[in-house]
């Protein structure tokens, strides 16, 4: 009896430190945030006020901008990146391709940079007097420098270009790992049957990689909905909030303006709800095609 108890308690001792930390720093704050989102007031003087903060969301034009931008990044950038990563990985999966190691390492390399570091590099490269403008002008593609950072459309495009540069290689590695798991004989059989490269990709690679594509899509969705470092450091959310994201708006509500904990918490719950809904939809779509 004594022995059995000993065996039962010890495993928990391994787990408890992690469980306590994750509960304290993830689940408890998560609940706390919801409670706070039902309160209004400045600083720490908070009073319950029902759904007032959530009602305010409906009329807040900055929030609408932040939501619009975040969704825009999501629906434009994620598909581009996933398709690009898929295309690169199927090219790299070719056995007869030379310099495969070099291509793979080069395209994965952006992953070693910190988000802040690469944001600063992109900000400098795309500055009005920066390298990209100089090159475009030398090639006579443009006559005058483009104000990448301070023009709405270009600033948004810049954020999308930057994120795609940083994360395509990361996703590519997942697909490469998945492709290596597919037996070559499958492709050889298809080649004998006269399948073209595109047919092989569409009817064999895609279905076989589906679980991994689903995983990376959910991963990128969660990441994009929390986007913060890039708009903060490349455009500071400007011009006039044209590139601001929800995370950045929450940060501003906390530290840039008079701290408004209740409203910031309500905004943050929008991200929670979006993640839950989108992950659910993606998993449903992933299942249906089965």
């Amino acid at each position: 009896m004594r022995d059995k108890k000993k065996v039962n308690i010890k495993p928990w001792l391994f787990i408890v430190p992690s469980l306590v930390l994750i509960t304290l720093f993830v689940f408890y704050p998560m609940i706390q945030a919801f409670i706070t989102s039902l309160q209004t007031g400045m600083g720490n003087n908070l009073k319950f006020s029902g759904a007032a903060n959530y009602k305010r969301l409906l009329t807040d034009s900055t929030f609408r901008k932040a939501l619009f931008n975040t969704v825009l990044y999501l629906i434009v950038q994620v598909p581009i990146m996933i398709l690009l990563a898929l295309a690169i990985s199927s090219m790299l999966n070719d056995k007869r391709l030379k310099c495969k190691g070099f291509f793979r390492t080069a395209i994965f390399l952006p992953c070693v940079t910190s988000l802040v570091a690469y944001s600063i590099i992109f900000k400098s490269l795309f500055a009005t007097d920066g390298f990209v403008n100089a090159m475009l002008m030398n090639l006579h593609i443009i006559d005058a420098p483009i104000a990448w950072i301070t023009t709405t459309g270009f600033a948004r495009a810049l954020i999308i270009i930057a994120i795609t540069w940083r994360w395509t290689g990361y996703n590519m590695i997942f697909y490469l790992a998945g492709l290596q798991g597919i037996d070559d004989s499958v492709y050889e059989a298809a080649a004998i049957d006269g399948a073209t490269g595109f047919q092989k990709f569409r009817y064999m690679t895609l279905p076989l990689l589906k679980p991994i594509i689903l995983f990376t899509t959910i991963n990128s969705t969660i990441g994009t909905l929390q986007l913060f470092d890039e708009p903060m450091n490349i455009t500071s959310g400007g011009p006039a909030n044209a590139t601001i994201t929800i995370s950045q708006y929450i940060y501003n509500l906390l530290f840039k303006y008079q701290p408004n904990f209740g409203y910031a918490a309500a905004v943050s719950y929008v991200i929670v709800v979006l993640i839950v809904i989108l992950s659910f939809i993606q998993m449903k779509v992933g299942d249906d095609k089965e």
Partner: protein, 281 residues
């Protein structure tokens, strides 16, 4: 090879080469900029210069306290990694070795935390860590201490999952044999499991060090006073200045990127295994 597939093959090489150049170019440019005067960088030079030492001196002499931030980043990243390797690996190990219904439920509960966006935690965590200031035992992890950045990163669902997955390759007979030899459960973990799973630990070390070294949002909130700031915070501050000194700025970025780039080139296999959380690596 038919003519058509030869064309396709050439096209493949062209596309991959262009993508590789685009991927590498910002790194190349960052080194060019770090070795040139700011004015020359603005002119669009693409030749390595000889101005690196001057840029470095400007950086170290500036009031940014770059060396201090480097030290802060290093201390935080090393301590986070060391503690995480014990705390998270112990949990991952136990979930796999002592499988039970109750523990599977707890494991799934922990996995759920992966879905929680950090943005939703910003507000309550800021307030929680402010409160720690008034609790004597928790002062060392209160807001504006390195501890506040460390403690939040030592137990993560990702690492616990990673260690549980990899523990599947750890032969259970070793556990049985060690028990017969009279080794306690903790002894088995520290003296048998840890040395056996070196490559798993290597991958976990790489990914934990990387994410701690590069972390931005929570340190930005938690470390408010100048002397406590880490490298990403300093670099971010440099980037938002109105008259950026490109030479100095890129010198700062190059030095901040060296540790992670070194890790990548020396331990590419573990790096990729850690990033993707894959079992085989």
């Amino acid at each position: 090879m038919s003519k058509k597939s030869k064309v396709l093959r050439t096209l493949e090489y062209v596309i991959l080469s262009i993508l590789s150049i685009v991927s590498i170019f910002p790194f190349f440019w960052m080194i060019i900029a770090a070795t040139n005067k700011s004015v020359d960088v603005s002119k669009g030079t693409l030749l390595p210069g000889t101005y690196f030492m001057e840029n470095l001196r400007t950086l170290l002499d500036s009031d940014l306290n770059y060396l201090g931030a480097f030290k802060n980043s290093l201390v935080i990243a090393v301590l986070t990694t060391a503690i995480a390797m014990v705390v998270s690996s112990a949990a991952g190990y136990a979930f796999q070795i002592y499988k039970s219904k109750g523990r599977d439920v707890v494991f799934n509960f922990i996995l759920l935390s992966m879905m929680v966006p950090f943005a939703a935690l910003m507000v309550p965590l800021f307030r929680l860590f402010t409160k720690f200031r008034n609790i004597p035992v928790l002062k060392f992890v209160a807001l504006d201490t390195p501890g506040s950045v460390i403690i939040i990163a030592v137990a993560t669902a990702f690492l616990i999952f990673f260690f549980r997955q990899n523990t599947k390759t750890f032969p259970k007979e070793l556990v049985e044999a060690a028990r017969i030899d009279g080794l306690g459960e903790f002894g088995i973990f520290t003296r048998i499991f840890m040395p056996t799973m070196k490559s798993t630990y290597a991958a976990a070390v790489v990914v934990t060090f990387m994410s701690s070294w590069n972390n931005y949002l929570w340190p930005l909130i938690a470390l408010q006073s100048g002397g406590k700031r880490t490298l990403p915070l300093i670099i971010s501050a440099m980037g938002s200045s109105y008259t950026p000194d490109y030479g100095m700025m890129m010198t700062a970025v190059v030095i901040a990127t060296i540790p992670t780039a070194l890790i990548f080139f020396l331990m590419q296999k573990q790096f990729v295994a850690g990033m993707t959380g894959s079992v085989k690596g």
